[in-house]
């Protein structure tokens, strides 16, 4: 299964991005990694070009909130309803309550939201979601 990943905005935190890449590969996904410093439009372009079934955006410096507001609009415009949208990392600038952050990003159009969650726990949950949605594992 194809998955597009990357770090949104002017964020150059590369370590977690590489770890997600390695983890997804070891779980059998075909990974298209756009790397750090990626804009929302670039993610959408990559999903269309690769025909990926999962888009996994990450953010460490909390910029995601500003960048992801247009997601729903783009999702509708390009008819990407079948794509699983995932976001994870540190999703707020400063201290943020998970109980507020998760519904906020769900409203933006994300199916799965992982705020300050462990990488392996998050990816286990993604695996399960993929299996439920598509009926197959990868």
């Amino acid at each position: 299964m194809k998955v597009v990943i990357g770090v949104v905005g002017n964020d150059i935190h590369v370590v977690a991005n590489r770890l997600i890449d390695i983890s997804l590969q070891s779980r059998g996904y075909e990974v298209f990694n756009l790397g750090v410093n990626t804009y929302l439009e670039e993610f959408i372009d990559a999903v269309i070009e690769t025909d990926a079934k999962v888009l996994l955006i990450s953010s460490l410096n909390g910029e995601a909130e500003g960048w992801c507001r247009d997601l729903l609009h783009l999702k509708t415009k390009y008819k990407l309803d079948d794509v699983i949208f995932v976001i994870g990392g540190n999703l707020s600038v400063g201290e943020g309550e998970e109980s507020q952050i998760v519904p906020q990003f769900e409203e933006y159009g994300f199916d799965l939201v992982y705020h300050q969650k462990e990488l392996i726990v998050s990816l286990d949950s993604l695996d399960q979601f993929v299996q439920e949605k598509f009926g197959v594992l990868k």
């Binding site: 590369v14 590489r18 890449d21 390695i22 070891s26 790397g35 750090v36 410093n37 392996i120």
Partner: protein, 454 residues
């Protein structure tokens, strides 16, 4: 007029540079005090590890105060440049400098040398009469280094690989090679009229599980590109790996092969120095543990016979250190170094042979590239993954090389990607790794290995 001089004229006729006087600068360098040249200190200081902290502040006054604090304890003063200047955005640097002066808060993470200008900066540098090292991270440093040298800063850090792959996502790598070629030529030109300008490569790279063979290959590649243009004093460097054994082995192989490859391109009259960076990865938040880590780094610098050590402070985990923290760290490192004189020689033939083979195998592939010039060969080698830097954010980097630590904390190659090392070399690396069967174990191991000093 030479092509080089024509390029320099264009570069120096920048709106942020106030009337650069080439003849006056040349006269200044020619008559400059020998004490400003680290190349001179290296020559006359055999056996003593020079100590250099990190640091840079936006305003002239704070920079002066920092040097004032450092002067009694350091051997080399740092001049760390702010990030706007690194990206050639002198307008933003000027604005932030003005605001920093007005509000007395630091709105830049370093010294905006272009905005201060060389006439002002030179006053400070000549006043302290101590070598100053330019620390930046600039892909296109053609203007910056002119102003540095005109200010009396006679050591220039950086290079076309080490200032791109760890720092940038998409600055064109080929452009960086050409910009740095220009830098080398200017340094070489000034090197003939007094003591040589010293060039230093940035060995830590991403400071995240970089295997020694990659560090050494990149150090030597940048050295060769510099010597090729006529630079006569060059420092190769590496950072504390997290394994005492690997540090010792790396230093020996790096020194040995740097000389070997310099000779291979026909350069026998250049001085090659070794610089050691104290731990560049994530620091503990416990300041006492930080002190131990810094002590261990000082001890290892002494054991590897480093010509220079670049220090960290106990405040590393908390942001930019105060000048007092910084001076204290230097004093402690000097104390430790002074204690450790006459350390016994250390040999690990098996590890040295393995690392030497890896570097030679990678260089064989680089030299066999069909391109006509060395920089193109190195450029192609980065592009096709012969050189692969773990955790580089740059789009050109191959990202297939995966490393983990073994039981002795040595960084080992787990997946070699397109690294052209022999089966024998790779088997040696593999034989040291023990991860068990869990599919999550590699990632878990990497997370643990990155945070090894926490």
């Amino acid at each position: 007029m030479s092509l080089l001089q024509r390029d320099r004229d264009i570069i120096l006729s920048n709106e942020y540079v106030d009337n650069f006087d080439f003849a006056e600068v040349e006269e200044f360098v020619k008559n400059a005090s020998k004490n400003l040249f680290i190349s001179h200190a290296f020559k006359n200081n055999k056996g003593k590890t020079l100590v250099q902290p990190r640091g840079g502040f936006p305003t002239y006054d704070k920079m002066h105060a920092l040097y004032e604090q450092f002067a009694p304890v350091v051997d080399v003063l740092p001049m760390t440049i702010d990030s706007h200047t690194r990206l050639n955005d002198y307008g933003s640097a000027a604005k932030m400098l003005r605001l920093s002066e007005e509000t007395e808060t630091d709105l830049l993470n370093g010294y905006p040398l272009i905005n201060h200008g060389y006439r002002t900066t030179r006053k400070m540098v000549t006043h302290f009469d101590t070598p100053v090292s330019l620390r930046h991270g600039t892909p296109d440093a053609r203007l910056l280094i002119e102003l540095a040298i005109a200010s009396g800063v006679f050591e220039i850090e950086g290079g076309p690989i080490t200032y791109i792959l760890p720092y940038s996502k998409n600055f064109p790598q080929d452009k960086a090679f050409l910009y740095w070629k220009h830098v080398e030529r200017v340094c070489a030109k000034y090197s003939t009229i007094n003591e040589p300008i010293n060039r230093e490569s940035f060995g830590p790279l991403t400071a995240t599980l970089v295997p020694p063979c990659i560090t050494i290959v990149i150090q030597i590649a940048e050295m060769l590109l510099s010597l090729e243009e006529g630079v006569k004093s060059f420092s190769v460097s590496f950072a504390q790996t997290g394994s005492l054994n690997q540090d010792l082995v790396t230093s020996k192989v790096l020194r040995k092969l740097a000389t070997k490859y310099a000779h291979k391109i026909g350069v026998t009259d250049a001085t090659i120095n070794l610089v050691y960076h104290q731990w560049m990865g994530a620091f503990p938040r416990d300041k006492f543990k930080s002190d131990s880590l810094i002590d261990a780094g000082a001890m290892i610098a002494s054991m590897v016979g480093a010509d220079k050590i670049i220090t960290k402070t106990r405040a590393e985990a908390f942001g930019i250190p105060t000048k007092e923290d910084n001076a204290q760290a230097v004093a402690n490192v000097q104390y430790t170094l002074n204690m450790l004189r006459g350390i016994p020689a250390f040999v690990d033939e098996e590890e040295e042979e393995n690392l030497t083979n890896q570097v030679d195998e990678i260089f064989e592939a680089i030299f066999n590239d069909k391109a006509d010039t060395l920089w193109r060969k190195v450029f192609n080698s980065i592009k096709n993954g012969i050189i692969d830097v773990p955790f580089s954010p740059h789009i050109i980097n191959n990202n297939e090389l995966i490393t983990v630590r073994d039981k002795q904390s040595n960084i080992r190659i787990y997946k070699k990607g397109k690294l052209p090392i022999s089966d024998k070399s790779f088997k040696y690396e593999q034989s040291k790794i023990d991860l068990g069967q869990n599919p999550n174990s590699v990632v878990n191991q990497i997370i643990k290995d990155i945070g090894v000093m926490l």
